[in-house]
Symmetry: C2
Subunit: 258 residues, 2 copies
Amino acid sequence: MQENNLNLRQKFRQEDYTGTTAGMAADYVQANVVILPVEYAFDFLSFCQANPKPCPLIAISDVGDCALGNIAVELDIRTDLPSYDIYRNGVYEQSCHNINSLWQKDFVTFLIGCSFSFEQSLLDNDIKLRHLEENKNVSMYNTSIMLKRYGFFKGSMVVSMRPMLASDAIKAIQITGSMPKVHGAPVHIGHPEAIGIRDLSLPDYGDSVNLYQYELPVFWACGVTPVAVIKAAKLPLAITHTPGCMLITDIKNHRFYN
Amino acid sequence: MQENNLNLRQKFRQEDYTGTTAGMAADYVQANVVILPVEYAFDFLSFCQANPKPCPLIAISDVGDCALGNIAVELDIRTDLPSYDIYRNGVYEQSCHNINSLWQKDFVTFLIGCSFSFEQSLLDNDIKLRHLEENKNVSMYNTSIMLKRYGFFKGSMVVSMRPMLASDAIKAIQITGSMPKVHGAPVHIGHPEAIGIRDLSLPDYGDSVNLYQYELPVFWACGVTPVAVIKAAKLPLAITHTPGCMLITDIKNHRFYN
C-alpha cells in the first residue's frame, strides 16, 4: 500500500494531478499542512497544544527539513502535495503546485490531523455522510467558540457539520471520541445558535447540505481553524495545503485510535 | 467498605430501613432485581441477552440459591432489599420488606445493572444531573422503541431522560458508552417525538424536571423496562425490587468500565 501512496505523491510531484485527495488512500491518514518560518514556530506549536481539537498535531519537521522522518516514504514536502496556498501578510496570494522557489532554510512544517480519517471510520461503521451522498464538500462554519490565544495566534473555532439521526450521532460521538488525533469527539450537537451559527443553510466554507426531520446537526472542530488563525496573524509569509488537497501519509488510520 | 455495605444490607434485613437506596454506597454497583420461577428463567434470560441496553445482566443465581456467590458478602436475597414488589398474573399485589414466606425452591434471581452507577460516573466528571439538583426522581417515559421478543417477554423500551447542554451530552455519551453493564450509551438524544414521546413534561414514571435553553434531552435505556415487560407477560408470580430500593452489591462501579 505504501507503494501506492508513494505513486500518488510522485504523481503530485510531477504535477500530473493537482486536485483534491478526497477518497484517495482511504485507509491512510491525510494531513493538513502548515509551513512557517521558525520565528513563528514556537508560538504556533504552543497554540496547537492549547487547542488540540481544531489543531491535533501529527508531526513537526526539523527546521529546514523537507522529509519529515518516517511519515511518508521518500517525502519532499516542497513538491508532494497536489496544490499549495501562499499567504503574505495574511492575504491569499496564489495557489501553486510546488514551493521549490519559495523554500527557505528556516521553514518548519506542521502536520495536523484531518477529518478524512474519522469520516472513513464513520463509513466503516455504516454511518452515512450527507455531503458525500450529495457529492458536495462538507459544510463549515465560523463559530463563537473562542480559542486559547498563544502569542501571534488567536481567534475562534471553525467547525464542520454533518447531519445525523440521533442513533448515528451517538455512535459517531463514541467512534470519534476515540480518535483525538483527528479532531476527536464533536464540540457541539443540536443547537447551532448556541455556538453562534445563525443559519445552517449558509455555511462560511464548503457547501450547504440537506437536514431532514429528526436529524441533529453534529459539529466537529475543523482543520480550517489553523488556516483562519494564520491568516488573521498576518505573518509575512505562510504556506498551507490548498483546501482538500492534503498530504497523503503512510500512517494507517487505525493507528490513530486511542 | 464492604463492611459498610454489609451493615446497610443487615439494616434492611432487620427492617430498620425500608426506603430508597439512592445516594448510598456511592462507589458500589446497585442492581435491579427480578425473581422468577425457573419455568420462565430461560425465556427471560434470552430476552435480556437480546436487549442488553435496557436489561444489562450482572448476575444470575443458581435455581433456589439465595446467596448469589461473591456479589455481596453474607447476602440473603429474601431479606436484604429494603422493599420488594409482588406481581401476580401481571398485577401489582403489594410491597413487602422480606419475601421469606413467598420463597420457592424453584426461584431464580436476576441482577440487572442500574443507572445509579453511571450517574455516579457522570457526577465524578462534573456533569450535573437536573433531577438530583431539583431533588426529584429521574423522568422516565414509555417509548415506541420496540424490544426484541423472546418467548413470554416482549414490549417497548422505557427510557430515563436527563437534560444537558451539548458539551455535557457529548461527554456523557463517551462516559456511559464505556459502561455497557449499566445501560451503556444513550439510545436517543434531541427529538423526543422521534421515539414516541409527545410531552416531556408528562413522564410515565418519576418526576418532570426543567429543560432550559440550548439543553438537549438525553435518553438512556432504563431498568424499569424489564419490570414493565414482566408485568405484561402476566406470569403467575414474579418479584422485583420496589423502584429505587435496589440491591447494594460489593462490586465497585469502576469494575463496570469496559
